[in-house]
Symmetry: C2
Subunit: 181 residues, 2 copies
């Protein structure tokens, strides 16, 4: 159940609110700032509702949000799906034993971590972040969850930067996005 | 409307789930890990519901969450209060013009930032974070919001470390906490 052919009015609304900042975090990168989307209650609410609709009929035990903007969209999604929330964090932020993985983005190498007891084998997890770009972060998050035996039943992003190939990199997982650039 | 004399069964539930890790992030500090609270849907839901109840009858335009765990508890609170959400972030994370302030915690100096257009003068804001310890971070967040002319109508924390004096430091603001150590 892709949202691809879905709600163009929500996509237009999102695009009317997102602010695009050139050369952040480095020259040549266009940063898509989602803070106006969450500052306006009705827009934030519509984004969460559309994210929830994508998982109607799907069993979801946990929503795993990627630090930090994935926490913002992931916690309301978890609560509306009657699911728990798992934070996937930057290195050194989680206080108990973790598994970790490093990956290369277009402009940096990053490490993310997951508590080893965050999920049990066979549990069904949705991964969420604000933006799907090259897919490196999401693929790393999925690899951590799968190392613990979880089944990743979907990946949700508010914004998809289609030219960066993230959807292809997440081939085999249902990918849901709300606004595409 | 303090929750002080409130829901001892929720306080007991929270304390039964929080994991206490000694010497994190530095020797001598007891770290209170809230990840089990959010991993269990029914516990997370009860925490959000209790946070919402504290603002019944209060006008709230925005909930401002302090990076990163304040995002986790703050976004569901904002949505349930029909309010927008404002992220207060570590230095260098927000892409547009900000105001910033630095403050000293027991073990480090930190800087937090707020987009200068995040709130308008006279708007009513609730500040939220996972833990109230010395109150330095929350006081810094409040000072940023007030510099922009906002009115801080309350500060919510899931956990209060009472021996560290945070509540006294936030004297004059309604402080709501759900579990006290």
């Amino acid at each position: 159940m892709e949202i691809e052919d879905g709600d163009t009015s929500l996509e237009d609304l999102i695009k009317s609110r997102v602010k695009t900042i050139p050369d952040v975090p480095i020259p040549g990168i266009l940063f898509r700032d989602i803070t106006p989307l969450i500052g306006e209650f009705s827009v934030f609410q519509q984004i969460v509702s559309a994210s929830v609709r994508a998982y109607r009929g799907t069993v979801v035990d946990y929503v795993a949000g990627i630090e930090a903007r994935g926490f913002i969209f992931g916690t309301p999604l978890a609560l509306q799906l009657n699911a728990g929330f798992i934070p996937i964090r930057r290195a050194g932020k989680l206080p108990r034993p973790t598994i970790a993985t490093s990956y290369t983005q277009s402009y940096a190498t990053s490490t993310i971590e997951l508590h080893i007891d965050a999920v049990q084998a066979g549990q069904k997890v949705v991964v969420i972040d604000d933006v799907l770009s090259s897919g490196g972060t999401a693929a790393a998050a999925i690899s951590l969850l799968e190392k613990l035996g979880a089944e990743v039943v979907g990946a949700t992003f508010v914004i998809e930067l289609t030219s960066l190939g993230g959807r292809a990199r997440l081939n085999g997982y249902p990918v849901h996005t709300l606004a595409r650039y």
